[in-house]
Symmetry: C2
Subunit: 707 residues, 2 copies
């Protein structure tokens, strides 16, 4: 009996934990399966999976063409290891989920196919290599599939789903845009084709239809404005009207249209997902409730003792005062049990389920709210040397540090520091000044630690204190290291010096924190970092795929030689086909697809868009003409779709930050904390108090991005 | 007594008309003032005002430095004429509004000051000119004030107010952005300043702090990517990280932040304005009601006869069947009068006032809804030659034209036409083909007019029929003109030929209308044209101001010489200071501020952003260094603020189009039309029927852009 109760508790904890972290996995309910499931969700397992995903992706750095070459054997062993880990993770997942659910999920099928393909390709490549036949490692482009499809990267998958849903609509707008482009190109051919005009490079201007289409496509991205217009404009001023009409229609209207379509779909899609998540959360919580319920008079309830056991199991590191607080919110009238679900889940508005106070269902949301328990501790020095710490000079010192003028003084010091940094380094006085500044900053940190309680000063939410301390001590270390190297070996390490410079400038950022308005914007920016990381994952996937294709297409075609090299065709990037091209003239030789890192940098430059036609033309010169298609495809995928998704991300995140009012659950907690004012004071004696600073977790269910 | 009633009716009509067109002018209520007020709002008066505003703005084309020079006397007479018209319009306005309201309105003060300044400046300039002293016509930059401040251009004023309200928030983000820029510049100076690197042009790289700030500001606009990175990247690949971090933070995050701030404020502001408009509209309608009300039992009402008189006065060109329909909606139970205002306006939610059916108040909204009264007329030929028109071959012909295959055949013909256009013009067969195509298209229009009733075919809402017919007949005229010129004078006029080419390609657009999905997007685009025109006005104002300043600063500094000119320094735009500059090498000489039209084209190119730093450096070379500030200021105003407002416009307009459901008033009308189904059929005998196609006017009150 007791064992059955313990098992129910375990299962209920698994449901609550799923609801808390928005996991939607239908797991088996046998005791072993639940234990396995908890292991599956353990943070170490998840971190390990991520580690192997990134290891697998970063193999491209060490494989031919390599940034840091490793023997084929080493990389293939590592790859097999990664694939085995993925297989293990998948098997683990299969063991905890229901059989038919597992095999219906395309995610799992995708992973299996990807593992199979990778192994086959690796085997074929290895065998061919033994016989000295060079082949293509085509399976490398399936590697990002692991990043997308492992259950942990829900956000990235959502972004991809959002893209997939947007595609039909985007396609229609894109076709209309292409139609407009083709029409304008036809007009351009008729208007300028027979005028015998020449471009600034002396090439024929607007003669060939396909080239006109490419040139005007580039104009849509604004990358060749105004060059593409100048020959026609020089011929007759009226022709400027053609290009103005083109830019207004295609660059301004169509590109805004793309953003509108992407943003609209993104919003719609996100709304649906949040609704689904809320529904799923409620369902899981009700299942947990049903496991733990006991009859109390007319209704079913969960008794206080079981409730506490559950919370301890789900969130082992909440303090007892925090748990007490949550209980007081859930059991408002202190009856000794937590109420039932008031509305059946299929009737309630799923979006407002969290608003249903006093019920058991809100526990998942309550657990997501970060309650900072401020421990009012005495300063360690006050305990160790109370006489000294409490003496008049010590008290004066501490009140000076707490005074506003202290902050202002240091702001002034930072400004003076900025001037010194800008000044010339050569003068010895200035390099001495650097030591003075370092000493002053270290003193500041020591004074603050002397005044404030150290554990409070370095609390989890004290971003700027951590930032300051890390920057200062890194700068101190690097400066000492550099000085040692200089005095002992008469040698300046460039890397260390660069790091010293960067740290020295980063120190100045602190001044932003002193101005209230800036702090607000900075906090908003810091809050949207998680959203941006999702976008980073999305970008990584697209970059990986395009980098691997790019390396197959363009590897070795363009080489970089240092300025004083006397290799033949060093100025033409080692390729005579580039003679007189804009690519060689712009000295772009180092932008090539010769290894994974270079490819990423080229793709970054293509994302920024400017001069991408020079790249496209350059690579088309050294390979076949269809090379341009690669660059156009990248532009469509990255700039038209992904960057617009990113802008939608940022817009939405910002509107949410702007319109953020505290959710009802958050308000309930704050209210309770205030209500319990005295109670909290009493608890304080035991070393803890619950602070009124409450903030929702950044999960899609925790926020309400839409009204 | 009858006279008093007529005066009340006139006054009520003025109130209703104000409510209908969202005018918020507190006019005097004396009979003469109301008549003057109606004259003030007459479309001819408004058109005349616009004509003189644009005449005044376009004077810049004829004044020194002129595109088409006119003697100073002519332009100054025209300017004085414009100013007198503005003064007249303002006096007219003063006569109809209340005294204290007039003098409190900054708009009116602005106009008066602008007129005064313009006259003073003109006088001073004229006098100095008599003594051959050249001075600056500085008052020309106040001319756009007339475009902004005349009451007709409410939309532009709203956009400006929106900008003004956004400014404080934008400023904080901008300061933070500048801080980030300065920090990165300092880092760049420290990292690259002492490496003795050189740019692709062989100039020193990143030595001077201010130049670094400018270069990195240009990088934010992406205009010098990747050139600005290449020297550092060639030196060490790791330095790419610096530029990647810079682009992510400043280009992607900060620029999205600007869009987010602008869009957020724009939305908030628009919401407030719409609320205010709805409130004002309701108030005006209630004043009208109070003028016309009579006691009927317990309540006040407006009797049917007076109601009809009022509608006739407000909208003289509504058909009697339309009026009947509106009456049936307003007087739902056919009691012979129109109901009272159910809720006092100060209690009602102003946003939902229009939903308050059956009341008098909704009349303004009802009048705004476009009800297409389709007249079911017999074809004129059926009346003139009934035997012939009704004969079997004629009926067959008409059913052929009505068949889907007819549309498909013409789509196929358009595609074949497109191929012929792309082919070479020289072959005589192809130029004959052009005549064949023209004939085929003319035949299509004739057949359609034969089949469909001509007045229906050329109805107000038949955009594509109008488009087709205009394009085909313009092409026919131009082609015949060209052929005549060619055969009689052996001479091809370039202008006519260009127009023929453009018309020929425009014909192809028709194919878009055949595909349902494209038609939807096109209709959305056509619907947001009014919104875009507002933006056009905004752009015009900014361009005018910057063009006039630009002409003062840079006039004559850069000259364009045709390619075969042997003027000294022809390749350096007539200015030796430009030797070896990117500006001269890019052959940008025709991009100068030598007249109003050129300035506009340069500003357009600066708006597109690409290569703007080449312009900035070029003009800084030929004048003083601070010239760059002009270009930076233009970038901040135009690209950071105005283009973001434009994108907000488009986004909002699109979301509204996407989420557009019919308003309650529109639904009420459709319902009534269906209810009256039989009744409408009866009316039909008198030649009219009310069609169910109902569409709201594009006024801010008519739509509900926000939920």
């Amino acid at each position: 009996m007791a064992e059955a109760a313990a098992q129910d508790l375990l299962l209920a904890a698994a449901f609550v934990s799923d609801a808390q972290y928005n996991r939607n996995i239908p797991f088996k309910t046998s005791p072993e399966a639940v234990r396995l499931y908890q292991l599956y969700n353990h943070w170490m397992m998840r971190t390990a999976t991520y580690f192997f995903i990134f290891l697998n992706l970063s193999l491209a750095l060490f494989e031919e063409p390599a940034v840091y070459p490793l023997p084929f054997l080493a990389t293939s062993v590592l790859e097999v290891l990664c694939l085995l880990v993925f297989l293990g993770r998948l098997t683990h997942f299969a063991k905890v989920t229901l059989h038919n659910v597992f095999w219906k999920d395309t995610k799992n099928i995708c992973i299996m196919v990807a593992i199979l393909l990778s192994l086959t390709d690796l085997a074929i490549y290895g065998v061919l290599r033994l016989y000295d036949v060079r082949s293509i490692r085509w399976s490398r482009i399936v590697r990002p599939i692991f990043l997308i499809n492992f259950a942990e990267s829900r956000q990235i998958r959502r972004a991809f789903r959002s893209i997939r849903n947007t595609l039909p609509e985007i396609t229609y707008v894109f076709l209309l845009f292409m139609f407009s482009l083709l029409m304008f190109s036809l007009m351009a051919l008729k208007l300028f084709g027979e005028r015998n005009l020449q471009t600034a490079e002396g090439l024929p201007y607007f003669r060939n239809y396909l080239e006109i289409v490419f040139d005007l496509y580039v104009l849509v991205t604004t990358a060749n404005s105004p060059d593409v217009m100048m020959p026609a404009f020089d011929f007759s001023s009226w022709y400027a009207l053609f290009f103005i009409a083109f830019v207004i229609i295609n660059t301004y209207i169509f590109m805004s249209l793309f953003l509108a379509v992407v943003y609209n779909n993104y919003k719609k899609h996100l709304k649906n997902e949040i609704r689904k998540l809320a529904y799923m959360k409620r369902r899981k919580m009700i299942e947990a409730f049903n496991l733990l319920k006991e009859k109390e008079g007319e209704q079913f309830v969960v008794r206080e003792a079981r409730w506490k056991q559950l919370v301890k199991l789900v969130a082992p590191d909440t303090s007892s005062s925090h748990r007490e607080l949550l209980l007081r919110i859930s059991d408002d009238e202190q009856k000794g049990f937590v109420g039932t679900v008031y509305l059946p889940w299929d009737q309630a508005d799923p979006c407002h389920s969290a608003a249903d106070k006093k019920s058991f269902v809100q526990l998942a949301d309550l657990l997501n709210i970060q309650v900072v328990t401020l421990k009012i501790r005495r300063h360690p020095l006050a305990r160790w040397v109370p006489a000294l710490y409490g003496s008049a000079p010590s008290r004066l010192l501490r009140s000076v540090v707490r005074h506003r003028a202290f902050v202002w003084t240091y702001d002034a010091i930072i400004l003076i520091n900025a001037i010194f940094i800008a000044l010339d380094e050569e003068s010895p006085y200035i390099s001495y000044a650097e030591w003075v500044f370092l000493a002053v900053y270290v003193l500041e940190i020591l004074l603050k630690v002397y005044t404030y309680e150290p554990r409070e000063f370095f609390g989890k939410t004290q971003f700027w204190n951590w930032f300051d301390t890390l920057i200062i001590f890194a700068a101190l270390t690097a400066t000492i290291l550099n000085a040692t190297l200089k005095s002992t070996m008469k040698y300046n390490s460039q890397q260390i010096l660069d790091i010293v410079f960067i740290l020295r400038v980063l120190r100045l950022i602190r001044i932003v924190d002193s101005i209230q308005r800036f702090r607000v914007i900075m906090n908003t920016l810091i809050n949207i970092v998680p959203t941006m990381l999702t976008f980073g994952g999305l970008t990584l996937v697209v970059y990986c795929v395009f980098a691997i294709i790019g390396m197959e297409l363009f590897h070795g075609k363009i080489q970089y030689f240092p300025a004083n090299s006397n290799t033949p065709h060093a100025l033409e990037c080692g390729n005579p086909a580039l003679k007189d091209s804009l690519f060689a003239r712009g000295k772009y030789c180092k932008n090539n697809f010769n290894n994974f890192a270079s490819s990423f940098i080229v793709l970054m430059e293509l994302t920024v868009v400017n001069q991408w036609h020079v790249f496209a033309n350059g690579f088309a010169n050294v390979t076949a003409q269809p090379a341009k298609l690669y660059f156009i495809a990248f532009h469509i995928v990255m700039v038209i779709i992904i960057v617009n998704i990113f802008v939608s991300f940022i817009l939405e995140a910002f509107f949410v930050e702007y319109s953020l009012e505290k959710s009802e659950v958050e308000t309930a907690i704050e209210q309770k904390i205030q209500e319990l004012g005295m109670g909290v004071q009493e608890i304080q004696d035991s070393g803890c108090s619950a602070a009124a600073h409450v903030r929702g977790r950044d999960t899609p269910g925790g926020r309400r991005p839409f009204l």
